[in-house]
């Protein structure tokens, strides 16, 4: 386990800011305790300082996971956000997409969201903006990337993709082994 280097921190913040914008500072600077990011086996974990101090007592090879896993760095140092970060990112999301109950299950199986399944979308969403996907009951379902701007969403045909799937809570069952 080690802290992130400057380059790694930068890459990760860039990815996170795609979804929550400048609200990252609320993750770094929390009023209810010091939380920090640590890297272990190429995965980034977000944990409180108390948990960190406890985790130092476990040897590296025996340590599986600490705190919550936000994502991992690939071999070429790109950052991939995992679904386990949803609980921390959903409250701070800047751009949200609500999906209709009918195509909720389709999204949870890993498919993209089509215009026919789109319930609501925040105004001013840019193209390829990171979004958090909610169900109509305001339950966060996962992450996505807006395929079209809000304007364009209004005008396209119902069969075109409006949100690309990035991560969904169905992955807790589908990729149980690789999530840690």
């Amino acid at each position: 386990m080690r802290p992130l280097t400057d380059e790694e921190t930068k890459t990760m913040f860039e990815k996170l800011s795609k979804y929550i914008g400048e609200n990252i500072r609320l993750l770094i600077d929390r009023p209810d305790g010091t939380y920090c990011f640590r890297l272990h086996n190429d995965r980034v974990y977000y944990m409180s300082e108390r948990i960190l101090k406890l985790a130092t007592n476990i040897s590296r090879d025996k340590l599986v996971s600490v705190g919550t896993c936000f994502g991992k760095f690939t071999k070429t140092q790109k950052f991939r956000l995992h679904i386990t970060a949803l609980d921390f990112l959903a409250p701070y999301a800047k751009f949200k997409v609500w999906v209709k109950p009918g195509s909720e299950q389709s999204f949870l199986y890993g498919n993209h969201i089509m215009k026919s399944g789109l319930g609501r979308i925040t105004e001013n969403t840019a193209q390829y903006q990171g979004v958090v996907v909610y169900s109509m009951a305001d339950v966060p379902l996962g992450f996505g990337v807006a395929a079209k701007t809000t304007q364009e969403c209004r005008m396209v045909d119902p069969m075109s993709i409006v949100v690309f799937h990035q991560a969904d809570i169905g992955e807790y069952i589908r990729s149980e082994d690789t999530l840690t």
């Binding site: 080690r2 280097t5 913040f13 770094i28 010091t34």
Partner: protein, 344 residues
């Protein structure tokens, strides 16, 4: 008639015979000098200039060549012959004429470092025997090389010396020492060659290309700096030089439980820098905003006119306006004039 012809024929036959004989025997004032090893015949006879006139020149030359060649062939026939695959072959002796060099004579090589030292100290080369008696194997073995007499890399037992670390691998130590000796030997050999041929060898840490990159030069400077007896500890820095840290290959990370507040501060600063790098005015967003406003305007107008003048074709206010400067432009060049859509 017949007798005439017979006489003619006889005369002709006699002349032919004379020709043939003449062919084999050639009379010269001075005998030729022969070098059968080089198939060389050297004719020192004088040439009559009369025979060298234009018209007769070719014939004269041809006959001269023929005569000399004939003499050379006669000489070759005098050599001992043997039969090789049904062909009679003459055995040529060694050539006697010295031919000049094809290439210039080689220059003497400059002495190597060791040769210079030996000359200086007066060390003579001692002739050593090729084979050494190996007591262990009871046979003669080479002095050096493959299957040599005293090969200490092949020993199966090495005593640990008194002052050595008991956990050290003595075999590995020996192998490593040998590798280092071989590498040093090779390095010195190449240096000798470079010195002999006056090839410029780049210093330590530099690549052998003429153009070095900034990083390579910096690395060379760092290596030169630590190449002192105290590993660069007492080397002063140049006026604006910074002492390099982490020049080794090992990456150094921050401590795991370092100062949390400083970590937090660093991350916030990083965020601030990232924010400042982003352009204040996002062009696409501004364009989209403009388009949306025009849409709303046109829709409002549609609604109004719908009531007044009846159904009109839906106006798609999709005209692209200039990026209206709602705030300052990205480079702070001042506001761009907001282009208003004219009446359609």
């Amino acid at each position: 008639m017949a007798s005439c012809s017979v006489e003619d024929v006889l005369a002709k036959a006699e002349r032919d015979e004379a020709e043939k004989l003449k062919g084999i025997t050639v009379s010269k004032e001075l005998d030729l000098e022969f070098d059968p090893g080089n198939l060389l015949a050297f004719d020192k006879n004088r040439i009559d200039t009369r025979e060298f006139k234009d018209s007769k020149r070719e014939d004269f030359l041809r006959s001269l060549a023929r005569d000399n060649t004939q003499l050379l062939i006669n000489e070759i026939w005098k050599l001992p012959t043997e039969r090789v695959e049904e062909v009679i072959v003459a055995k040529l002796p060694d050539p006697t004429t010295l031919l000049p060099r094809e290439k210039p004579a080689p220059k003497p090589k400059p002495p190597t470092k060791w040769e210079q030292f030996a000359k200086l100290k007066g060390i003579q080369k001692k002739k050593k025997t090729n084979l050494v008696w190996d007591e262990v194997h009871k046979e003669w073995k080479r002095r050096w090389g493959y299957k040599r007499a005293k090969d200490d890399t092949k020993e199966w037992l090495i005593e640990v010396p008194v002052n050595a670390d008991p956990n050290e691998d003595q075999f590995a130590k020996r192998n490593k020492a040998k590798k280092e000796r071989v590498a040093r030997n090779e390095y010195n050999r190449l240096k000798n060659i470079a010195r002999a041929q006056k090839i410029k060898v780049p210093g330590m840490g530099l690549a052998p290309t003429p153009q070095q990159s900034k990083a390579e030069l910096a690395q060379a400077v760092n290596i030169a700096k630590i190449s002192t007896a105290s590993v660069g500890k007492f080397q002063d820095n140049l006026p604006k030089e910074k002492t390099p840290k982490n020049t080794g290959k090992k990456r150094k990370f921050q401590p795991l439980i370092g100062d949390f507040s400083s970590e937090k501060q660093k991350q916030l600063d990083l965020l601030k820098v990232m924010d400042s790098k982003k352009p204040r005015l996002d062009i696409t967003k501004a364009v989209n905003k403009q388009m949306r406003e025009e849409d709303m305007e046109s829709r409002k107008k549609n609604k109004k006119d719908f009531g007044k003048k009846g159904q009109r074709g839906k106006m798609s206010g999709k005209g692209k306006g200039k990026a209206g400067g709602k705030g300052k432009g990205p480079k702070g060049k001042g506001r761009k004039p907001q282009m208003k859509q004219g009446k359609r």
